[in-house]
């Protein structure tokens, strides 16, 4: 916290010398050792640390991959396979990087839902929240461009579908599309610039992460009770308390990560991406990676291509606006008996959208169930299920959030973190 005075005392001569010139050790000490954290944080708060590990893992494995990868349409596919065969432990580096992207998104979704549930976006943490949203957006861009690099069938045709969306913007769409692709089609120029940007963006993300943590340390952490820190009794120092707890969670996370990398490294990917890109053969079913399916579903829910693009970006934009859409005075949904149910439905809807994103829109949801044609499709089809979910997705932010906040009678909120901890302690004892 900004009003938390520094307690760092340089001991050795060299530390004193450095401290009066560049107080970097002081910064690290104040941020990661002495920094006061609420003492009631649960395991959902460990995902920030997990995400930092994910970013570091992607950058390290990515740099090694880039030493062996060839960004050329004729060689990219084979160069990735060569990494797996001929580079020492190349299979490990590549599988860690490819599965690492999935792990990264899994962690970021948990992290964001945590924020949503405990109201971590509310004052004074609006800027912190927006910085997080920027990171999320950059991650999507990075992962999308990374997925193009191995130049498999899904890489290529996915890139065609997604870049062409830009072409649907009226008037300026086509020139922007040509400029982005570096030509009139997804080709060598596209691959080469995607590689360049895929290398660049993670470092931009790292920069925004620093701002994110800075903002965090100004406002202080939120906590499951959703009440601000009032006294020293409410906190414990970051080290050893948070470090050891984050450590436990990170190791558990790495365990899950390793199960994928070592025992099912291709289970999250798509078989078609092991076929070298061929512009003349379009795969029967083009789907993005699982972590983008929710947004892909929203895109396809709208019959007009351009409006679909607007909806897809809108689905991300509303997350940015969340601090001003929630009208409740209470942060934590623990004390919001009505809102928490809408939250649970929201999580189910997001998963449902992800599910729908992988289906053919015309396919029946309940096979054989009688249905009728509604406007442009059967009611019993993924098209209409996706639309229903999309409607809830937007209603949740634009209507339910502001409205329930005003109407709901929240439960009594504890006076302080210490009191919340005590109450829970007593409840546990019975």
């Amino acid at each position: 916290m900004s009003d938390h005075p520094s307690t760092y005392v340089p001991k050795t001569g060299i530390e004193k010398w450095l401290d009066s010139r560049l107080p970097i050790v002081r910064l690290a000490y104040d941020s990661f050792v002495d920094y006061p954290t609420p003492k009631n944080l649960n395991y959902w708060w460990t995902f920030g640390g997990i995400l930092s590990v994910c970013l570091a893992v992607q950058i390290i494995t990515g740099i090694i991959l880039a030493m062996h990868y060839t960004p050329h349409i004729d060689y990219a596919f084979n160069s990735v396979e060569r990494i797996m065969r001929d580079v020492n432990y190349g299979w490990l580096i590549r599988y860690v990087h490819a599965n690492g992207a999935s792990m990264f998104f899994f962690a970021v979704y948990v992290h964001m839902l945590r924020g949503l549930y405990y109201g971590s976006y509310k004052a004074p943490r609006e800027v912190l929240w927006i910085l997080g949203c920027i990171i999320f957006f950059l991650m999507i861009a990075t992962a999308f461009m990374g997925y193009v690099l191995p130049w498999g069938q899904m890489s290529f045709h996915g890139a065609v579908v997604i870049t062409n969306l830009i072409g649907s913007i009226p008037v300026i769409g086509t020139p922007i599309l040509t400029w982005l692709q570096g030509g009139f089609a997804v080709d060598q120029a596209t691959l080469n610039r995607f590689f360049s940007l895929h290398y660049l963006l993670p470092f931009v993300i790292a920069g925004v992460v620093i701002l994110h943590i800075w903002a965090l340390h100004v406002s202080g952490q939120n906590n499951p009770a959703g009440v601000e820190i009032k006294s020293k009794e409410d906190t414990v120092p970051f080290t050893p308390y948070a470090t050891v707890k984050d450590g436990v969670a990170i190791i558990a996370f790495l365990f899950l990560f390793s199960v994928f990398v070592f025992f099912m490294p291709n289970s999250l990917g798509h078989a078609d991406n092991y076929i070298q890109a061929n512009p003349l053969v379009t795969p029967a079913h083009i789907v993005p990676e699982w972590y983008l399916l929710t947004f892909y579903a929203i895109l396809r829910a709208i019959p007009d291509k351009f409006l679909g693009v607007v909806a897809m970006f809108g689905a991300i934009a509303v997350i940015f606006a969340l601090p001003w859409l929630d009208t409740s005075k209470v942060k934590s949904m623990r004390y919001r008996p009505v809102m928490r149910w809408f939250f649970v439905i929201f999580v189910v809807v997001c998963l449902g959208l992800g599910w729908c994103g992988a289906q053919l829109p015309d396919a029946q949801v309940i096979p054989g169930f009688p249905s009728f044609n509604l406007i442009d499709g059967q009611l019993n089809s993924y098209l209409w299920l996706t639309r229903l979910f999309t409607l809830y997705y937007f209603a949740f932010f634009l209507f339910i959030m502001p409205w329930i906040g005003l109407k709901e009678d929240p439960l009594p909120v504890p006076a302080s973190i210490s009191e919340a901890v005590l109450a829970e302690h007593n409840k546990k004892k019975g």
Partner: protein
Amino acid sequence: MKSLKTIGLKTVGALIAATVMASAVPALAAGGAQHAHEPKEGFSFTGPFGTYDQAQLQRGYKVYREVCAACHSMNLLSFRNLGEKDGPFYDPKFKNPNDNPVVKQIASEFEVADIDSETGDAITRKATTSDRFPAPFPNTAAAAASNGGAVPPDLSVITKARHGGASYVYSLLTGYKAPPAGLKIAEGQHYNPYFPGDLTSAWSGDHKHVPAGGVLAMAPPLSAGQVTFDDGRESTLSHQAADVAAFLEWAGEPKATLRKKTGVAVLAYLLLFFGLTYASYRMVWRGKH
């Protein structure tokens, strides 16, 4: 708190389940093909501890070499790969596969194109262990022209490029059947219930019961007795198909055994580390909860 924890756990569980399911979905959507299955005796390499059966890989290589190589390239493989750890002709006496006499012998049976470095003339020479498997056709146009317009796909990573992997290859090779009455099969095409496709337009029977599978340009490449196995294994269709499928699985994931062994060690280490860290956590936090 308790209820949130259960909700949270359920959410995470659902996320994982949805992920696994979502990755399996396209398999269903790809068309009404019959589900691929393993050979009766199973594959030795499935499961977290599965490893390749070297004798099977050797037989599988023979099937590839004598049958499939007439049409299918394996561009990512070099002869030396055959003698690498966990490969078909690995011999612990020759850590460097380029010294392995069996591998050298196999390579020398092939001629490859080269340029004479003195004269610049195009020549052919005996292959060496570092050469790649020669492709049967000079380019895709030639490959298509010889195969009724269809290009036989490169088989280097075919088990990773198809849902069902080695089981799919096995099922495809053993699954050819006479087309059911009412299914029109074009000249040069062959019906196979495991090949993903949509036969609706070729089907004149009951439109609710379109046969599973599709048609492909590859005639059944294997039949009983076609390849003589050096180790005396009976040369049934199923044996040949299982062996070549295993060989292709190895070709696609030559490092799978090392990967799984490393994985077991990594998980054991993480488990231990987790225990220690968790114990420290309990100690550090004692009295703070």
